[in-house]
């Protein structure tokens, strides 16, 4: 079990005055059987009242607007979250052949998690990956899911700037490179093409050095920017399995889940529209520290200082790295 205090700061600097800015954020950590969100506070500059609702995936969405002219907007989300230990990996009991018999039923039950989306189409170029994952699956359904994740991890290069926030998986398939958002989308496509219902998970990966703050370990973590994305797949009979194709390692108590959806489009941490012709610069910072740990140690570690986004970006959505 791990406890963290997280501060997620998103700042927009505009070249000129903008107004009538309407925004929605999915920044409150999930509160469910896998993790508990103990406290959450959202503040904005300029100050604005927020209203919240739950979306169809049970994510808590906060909305606010700033009507008057402004050149700067800051959204700060502070949360304390408790990550429960992961359940043991599901046993490899369901064969792919047995899975196939349930496939139609799963499609009907979990349509949204199996169907192609704009970010996650089902291109023929991935059929080879599906076939290869089958070969490495030992004929088992959970084996297929793990093999697919390993394949994506092994065949694609992690490279910031290789793609952008609105990239569909086509961009990565061409360059064989991307960031965690792309890795997650590609894995989703492979799983869904084989009939597995799967979620895109938006969240944080807390670096090891933050977890072991006292040891000042400098271990590098892929996706050094703490904003992260991975996948949860439903393996009938075995339950939900979390897979991190970027990290290539098991999803652990270092993974903090913010929101679930079909793809990035459902869970963008911050998105909005505004009036005005000014361009914008976006920066994202996530601060994390373990809280209330057994020795009472507290140490702030800055894990992410988002680099300026490519100038073409006008959407005001941070890409998940």
């Amino acid at each position: 079990m791990n406890r963290y205090r997280l501060v997620h700061v998103t700042e927009f600097h505009y070249d000129g005055p903008v107004s009538e800015s309407y925004n929605e954020v999915r920044l409150r950590p999930r509160h469910d059987d896998r993790q508990s969100c103990i406290s959450f506070r959202l503040t904005t500059t300029p100050q604005a009242p927020t209203v919240a609702h739950r979306d169809m995936f049970e994510n808590l969405v906060h909305q606010f607007n700033v009507l008057g002219e402004h050149r700067y907007l800051k959204v700060e989300a502070e949360s304390v979250v408790l990550i429960h230990d992961s359940p043991p990996a599901p046993p490899d009991t369901l064969t792919l052949a047995e899975f196939d018999a349930m496939r139609e039923e799963l499609r009907e039950e979990y349509f949204d998690l199996v169907a192609a989306t704009n970010y996650v189409p089902h291109p023929d170029a991935l059929r080879e990956f599906v076939r290869e994952a089958e070969e490495r699956s030992s004929g088992m359904a959970p084996g297929f899911a793990r093999a697919a994740s390993e394949l994506v991890h092994g065949r694609f290069r992690y490279e910031q700037g290789a793609t952008h926030v609105h990239s569909s998986i086509g961009d990565s398939l061409e360059t064989r490179a991307g960031v965690c958002q792309d890795f997650a989308h590609i894995l989703l496509a492979i799983l869904r093409m084989r009939g597995f219902p799967a979620y895109y998970v938006s969240g944080y990966l807390v670096p090891k050095r933050a977890v072991d703050a006292a040891e000042r370990s400098m271990e590098e973590v892929i996706g050094g920017q703490a904003s992260h994305a991975w996948v949860e797949v439903y393996v009938a009979g075995a339950g939900w399995m979390a897979l991190d194709p970027t990290l290539g390692a098991p999803v652990s108590t270092q993974h903090v889940r913010l929101a679930l959806g079909r793809d990035y489009g459902d869970v963008a941490p911050v998105r909005g529209v505004y009036r005005g012709h000014a361009g914008q610069r976006l920066s994202v910072d996530v601060l994390v520290r373990p809280v209330l740990d057994d020795e009472g140690r507290e140490h702030w570690t800055e894990t992410a200082a988002g680099p300026p986004q490519p100038p073409a970006l006008q959407s005001g959505q941070p890409q998940q790295q």
Binding site: E20, Y22, N23, E24, A48, P49, V51, H53, R54, D55, M56, Q63, F64, N65, L67, R107, E108, E109, F111, D112, A115, G272, V273, S315
Partner: protein, 492 residues
């Protein structure tokens, strides 16, 4: 009456042939149905020149009033007169009562379906309609899930398209329109113009009035106000380039409410305001004629210039009522249409009073195979369009059209349905080239208002007529015209 020899037919009807179709006016050539006898007698005294003159009076009054519509995908200027045929379509009372009952039943079932599908989804759990069909509908709005709408009303205004099948003489439902159906302004205007152009004929009949539609709609809209009392109601239009802009301004004026565009409204922390010269004024109810996609750039298409950012937030918070509700397109999807009879049985425990046209849902592999083999014989429609856009009528399509359709259908079967060609009934329409009446195919779009308890149907509705000889396409966007529709207080 027995059929008369053709030489005895009045001049306007000389050579008139029912062509083997159900003719709304004639049982057989020269033998009008009982409810058309008075009109027939009137017209018998009238020569082509006089009728032509009356027609011109009618056209002129449409022109003077600026009653126009716009055809998209047509280079020839934006606005056009909606062609009007002066000979009314008449429905006897008993037949109308049956239609009204059927429409009421259908609208209530559609509303219950929307309530369910955005609520507990019991009908999906009970497997009466495939979840995949609902969730793959482009107009299914996940943003509506779990959202409670005022009075549980989703379908405040519906336009249900009916056709009479010549084989059986029965009315059937061709499609449902529960998003932003248009055309009711023509119902009201057609009546005024018909009374002016055919006063004697109109006086021969006791016709149920249609003119209280705007006040009834206004009452329903005001009743939705979250604040009660003096509700501020506005009509939200996409603006002057929209095909139905005339109707928007007409209805706003008739109801005495403000006609606004997206830029006239602003939301703040979930409250909607209208910008006025006296400052911001809170808005309680929006009769929107803007499609879901464009309604709120924060919730839907971010590039929309027509909408109001934050409108969905206000709607979700119950601070503003929106009619029709968001997400209704899942109920009038043409593939979902095939399941409406099932909705009626499932939610109401009743048999449908109005039948559906037999429909092949291409999302079902067996249906798709059948359709691909019979394209040439069927009417094939994209599921999410209205106004006849994208529709292909197999028997009159050329080879290239059929082949291109086949490819599109194969690559996205969910997007298509097919129906056998229905032999639509006909009504005489005046052909100015010959100076005589000729049979033309018609449909009927009645307008239904739902206040949460009761469905009120404006008597009659818009009779749309395919003015080209032989054509089955009645949509105004596809060259159709319209007629006044008279529902009689009695049988004739």
């Amino acid at each position: 009456m027995t059929p008369k020899p053709e030489s005895e037919l009045p001049a306007l009807f000389s050579g008139y042939d029912t062509g083997g179709f159900y003719d709304e006016m004639f049982e057989s050539p020269g033998v009008p149905r009982p409810h058309y006898q008075r009109l027939y007698r009137q017209l018998s005294y009238m020569g082509p020149a006089e009728f032509q003159e009356r027609r011109e009076v009618a056209d002129l009054s449409f022109l003077v009033q600026g009653i126009t519509f716009t055809v998209y995908s047509d280079g020839r200027g934006t606005e056009r007169l909606f062609p009007f045929d002066l000979l009314p379509r008449i429905l006897p009372r008993a037949e109308w009562d049956q239609i009204e009952k059927g429409l009421s039943q259908r609208v209530i079932a559609l509303n219950l379906f929307l309530q369910d599908v955005y609520g507990s989804q019991q009908i999906l759990k009970d497997r009466k309609v495939p979840r995949s069909l609902v969730f793959s509908c482009r107009h299914f709005r996940r943003e509506m899930m779990g959202l409670e709408v005022p009075g549980s009303i989703h379908t405040h205004i519906s336009g249900i398209d009916l056709v009479r099948d010549s084989r059986t003489g029965e009315f059937m439902v061709l499609e449902d329109n529960v998003r932003t159906p248009s055309g009711v302004s023509y119902v009201l205007e057609n009546r005024l113009v018909t009374i002016r152009a055919l006063p004697q004929a109109f006086q021969q009949y006791a016709v149920l009035p249609v003119d209280d539609y705007p006040s009834h709609l206004g009452r329903i809209l005001r009743s939705l106000s979250p604040r009660g009392g003096d509700a501020v109601v506005v009509l939200l239009t996409p603006g002057i380039y929209n095909s139905a802009y005339f109707e928007h301004s007409f209805l706003a004026q008739q109801m005495g409410i403000e006609l606004v565009e997206g830029r006239d409204l602003v939301t703040d922390a979930g409250i909607v305001f209208m910008k006025t010269i006296h400052g911001l004024k809170r808005v309680d109810v929006i009769y929107r004629r803007v499609d879901d996609d464009f309604l709120d750039p924060l919730a839907f298409r971010p590039d929309s210039e027509l909408g109001v950012p934050g409108l969905m937030t206000a709607f979700r918070l119950g601070q503003v009522a929106i009619a029709n509700a968001v997400g209704n397109g899942v109920a009038d999807d043409k593939a979902v249409y095939a399941f409406v009879p099932e909705f009626i049985r499932y939610y109401l425990g009743q048999d449908p009073i109005l039948k559906n046209v037999e429909t092949y849902v291409c999302d079902r592999p067996a249906d798709c195979r059948y359709v691909l083999e019979h394209l040439q014989e069927m009417v094939v429609k994209p599921v999410g369009e209205s106004g006849g856009y994208g529709m292909v009528i197999g028997p009159s399509a050329d080879r290239a059209t059929i082949e291109s359709l086949r490819q599109r259908l194969k690559s996205d079967p969910r997007n298509w349905i097919a129906q056998p060609v229905v032999a639509l009934s006909r009504v005489p329409a005046f052909d100015s080239a010959t100076g005589r009446f000729a049979g033309r195919h018609v449909d009927l779009r009645p307008y239904c208002l739902f206040d949460g308890h009761k469905v009120t149907v404006a008597p009659g509705g818009l009779t749309r007529v395919a003015l080209q000889a032989g054509s089955l396409v009645v949509n105004s966007s596809q060259g159709g015209g319209s007629k006044d529709t008279w529902v009689l207080r009695g049988e004739s």
